[in-house]
């Protein structure tokens, strides 16, 4: 709407009289031809002219503005705009204001985020809080916007501002514990924040936090994967930490979705976890009445149960079963 209202009438504007517009070289019979509106054709014809002439001028900057409003996906226009901004030494804080409305209308456009990263990089650490605030606003509109999260991670790593990030993750998970992007961000913070001391230092409190989330919603895949991630590259602790096996046992003994507890237990067993009778009983009680007789190998029994309770992945569980070492009997 605003794009059409504010469109320049370039061909009638004396300011542009010196420039010869360049039409698009589509050829005589183009495929996928688009029925462009006249204002689009005019704007792009003049854009091609300033682009070809390498004209870094205020009017060219204004023209890129028009072109971006008409099609924010045109990366050539964005690129040229950055060259002009550089050449004219424009205050980039103003550029951020220009970006506001466009970003909200096109939250999944690669170009706006790339442009934003370019600006923030130039502004340096001063931009950190503004960029964190901006992504927070974009995430309040869509808490799983992939580009917004990537930008936020880049800001944290390049410009800083880690202080409240774990709280922010907590807040988002309080709002929606199924928000996997927030879990991923949490992992990003505990593994990369210079303030927290890394995975080793945070594991204990993180395990507690995650287990609470699992017990609240045992069918929520996100915290299960997060829990596994907390022991990445440390299978020894993964199988020896009693908190991990006991959360499996708790879920298996409750009325709940058992798929993730079973698959986690299967993973523990294949890494060498020794299950006691309590685990065997809990698993046995889940065997469907019409299934094969219990196997002496607990892992095989788990695969058989998963074939029943998780039929979408029947081939996967069959395959997992076929990969188990065959001679194990305890």
């Amino acid at each position: 709407m605003d794009a059409e209202e504010h469109i320049l009438r370039l061909s009638q504007d004396p300011e542009w009289a010196d420039l010869t517009p360049i039409p698009q070289d589509d050829g005589p019979n183009p495929v996928v031809p688009i029925a462009y509106k006249p204002d689009f054709i005019e704007t792009m014809d003049y854009f091609r002219a300033v682009y070809k002439a390498n004209e870094f001028s205020p009017r060219a900057l204004q023209l890129t503005h028009q072109a971006i409003l008409l099609n924010p996906g045109n990366y050539t226009v964005w690129h040229f705009r950055r060259l002009i901004l550089d050449a004219l030494g424009i205050d980039l804080n103003e550029e951020l204001n220009f970006m506001l409305g466009i970003s909200e209308r096109n939250p999944k456009n690669y170009q706006i985020w790339h442009h934003r990263r370019w600006i923030a990089e130039k502004l340096g650490t001063d931009a950190a809080s503004k960029e964190l605030e901006f992504t927070r606003r974009m995430l309040s509109l869509d808490a799983k916007n992939y580009h917004a999260w990537s930008h936020r991670q880049w800001v944290l790593q390049a410009l800083g501002g880690w202080e409240n990030e774990l709280d922010y993750c907590h807040q988002l998970l309080e709002e929606d514990v199924f928000n996997n992007s927030a879990w991923n961000q949490r992992y990003f913070v505990v593994t990369r924040s210079p303030l927290l001391g890394g995975l080793e230092a945070t594991r204990e409190s993180e395990v507690k936090y995650t287990i609470e989330a699992i017990l609240g919603n045992p069918g929520n895949e996100s915290p299960w994967r997060y829990l596994r991630g907390l022991y990445k590259n440390d299978p020894k602790s993964w199988i020896s930490d009693p908190q991990v096996s006991s959360v499996c046992l708790k879920v298996l003994s409750a009325e709940a979705n058992h798929v993730f507890a079973l698959s986690t237990l299967l993973d523990l067993l294949s890494h060498g976890f020794q299950a006691n009778q309590e685990f065997r009983d809990a698993v046995d009680s889940l065997r469907p009445s019409n299934s094969d007789p219990a196997d002496s190998d607990l892992a095989k029994t788990i695969c058989s149960i998963l074939r029943h309770v998780d039929p979408m992945r029947v081939n996967y569980w069959t395959w997992r079963k076929s990969k188990l070492p065959s001679a194990v009997s305890v």
Binding site: V32, W149, S150
Partner: protein, 452 residues
């Protein structure tokens, strides 16, 4: 954290489940004859929709004015999957138009006169490969394209989308894919890219666009395919990757792109393609078991067979394009197909894929397909060419993933709906139809680029 309160994720998920299950319940309640009709692939309608798009697009497509080679690829590849070739004039028009998107210094832009971009280069090259023939294939300036790829390479080894553009796994895949299919992949292009992709595999098991981001179906396909193409797939945590991707198929029968996100038809290819690729990886050696070069290309005397060009100007390509090396491929096949060893490979190529193929076909045909042509993300959304392309690609992957040899007809039990639903098979590393893949390999093995 209480389970009592409904969250945004739950509310949206339940609403989609509701729509999808309503369709499945309706389907279950009608007589078998009517069911067969509903499962029919509406070939004529799809072809009509695609043909019209190729000839004219409305003003709203201005948002895709920098993605016109993509529009070409989505449409032309969809037609090829349906076994439909373009008429002579339209084919010539397509070749001419794509050539106008080619930059004088290499690579293809989003439209005539736009900067070259890796994604549109991939789309243009795949379109041209799909069109096939001397005129189309020789329109690509491979020497210049190679230079463009080198210019897009970051010192880290990863690729940028365009001059001063963003670096991500998509850029890496599109660069490696075009270099591979055009037979210009060498050590210089490969250097460091594997390490970048490796750094994008997340704690969840899937692959993200950049290090630290969330595992995502599109990037997982790109990362895995690129790692196979550069022969470094065994560096990935494959067990973790498999576990992540099999869980992306949900109760709606289709795939989602990320954990706790909504089902979407386009992931039929991105995630289904990941599983089709994984099915051919030997987990012990990390070798990719190519079935695609079998047949005429590997017959004795073929120009790509051993001895003739294993060294020379593109020796790097010979080392990295393992799949085109007849010798290695035979060795891996013999390992895989002896029954005593078949559990070494991930999927048993001769039997079942690790996802639910019939369920996925059901989602594509009943939930994504529109009666009057085209496919959509999910019920309630409009059709578009992107989803048409990737729903059809995913459908083809489902229909053919169990075939021992891609040239032999698919096992009828693997095709949901009437047998004429059967689509052309694709080469899942590039997502071009197999027949055209074979032609381009043959073409560029005869006329190599003069590099260095």
């Amino acid at each position: 954290m209480e389970s009592g309160r409904e969250t945004v994720t739950q509310v949206e998920q339940w609403s989609v489940e509701d729509r999808v299950f309503r369709i499945y319940n309706m389907f279950a309640s009608i007589p078998p004859g009517a069911q067969t009709t509903l499962l029919e692939l509406q070939r004529d309608e799809h072809i009509k929709y695609l043909n019209e798009g190729l000839k004219q697009l409305g003003p709203s497509f201005v948002a895709l004015d920098s993605s016109r080679p993509w529009l070409c690829y989505w449409i032309i590849h969809s037609m090829a999957l349906l076994g439909e070739s373009l008429d002579y004039e339209l084919e010539n028009n397509a070749i001419d138009f794509l050539n106008r998107c080619q930059d004088p210094n290499g690579g293809f832009g989003g439209g005539p006169g736009q900067m070259p971009h890796l994604a549109t280069t991939y789309a243009a090259v795949n379109s041209i490969v799909t069109l096939g023939g001397q005129k189309a294939l020789s329109s690509i300036n491979r020497d210049k394209l190679y230079n463009f790829l080198l210019r897009m390479k970051d010192p880290s080894g990863a690729f940028r989308m365009h001059d001063a553009g963003e670096i991500d796994v998509r850029a890496c895949y599109t660069a490696i894919s075009v270099a591979s299919i055009l037979n210009i992949l060498d050590d210089e292009l490969v250097r460091g890219v594997g390490n970048f992709i490796l750094s994008c595999q997340t704690y969840e098991g899937g692959i993200a666009g950049e290090p630290g981001s969330e595992a995502h179906g599109g990037y997982t396909f790109c990362g895995l395919a690129a790692m196979i193409l550069i022969n470094e797939v065994n560096h990935l945590d494959l067990a973790g990757l498999i576990d992540w991707v099999v869980f992306r198929q949900g109760v709606e029968c289709g795939f989602q792109g990320r954990v706790n996100k909504l089902v979407d038809g386009c992931y039929s290819f991105w995630q289904g393609g990941v599983l089709a690729l994984l099915q051919r990886i030997d987990l012990v050696t990390g070798e990719y078991l190519s079935l695609f070069d079998s047949g005429e290309e590997d017959s004795p005397g073929n120009s790509t067979s051993e001895g003739e060009d294993t060294d020379g100007i593109s020796s790097g390509a010979e080392e990295t394009c393992h799949f085109k090396n007849g010798e290695q491929q035979d060795a891996s096949c013999s390992v895989n197909y002896t029954s005593s060893n078949h559990t070494r490979s991930l999927g048993n190529v001769e039997t079942e894929p690790l996802f639910h193929s019939l369920a996925l076909q059901q989602y594509i045909l009943l939930c994504s397909q529109l009666e009057n042509g085209g496919f959509r993300d999910k019920p309630g959304k409009p059709r578009d060419f992107y989803h048409t392309c990737y729903c059809l690609s995913g459908l083809s992957v489902c229909q053919h993933c169990c075939s021992k040899d891609y040239d032999s007809p698919s096992v009828p039990g693997q095709v949901l709906g009437p047998y004429p639903n059967l689509l052309e098979p694709v080469h899942p590393l590039y997502n071009v139809v197999l027949k055209q893949y074979r032609e381009v390999r043959e073409f560029f093995s005869r006329s190599r680029a003069k590099l260095n």
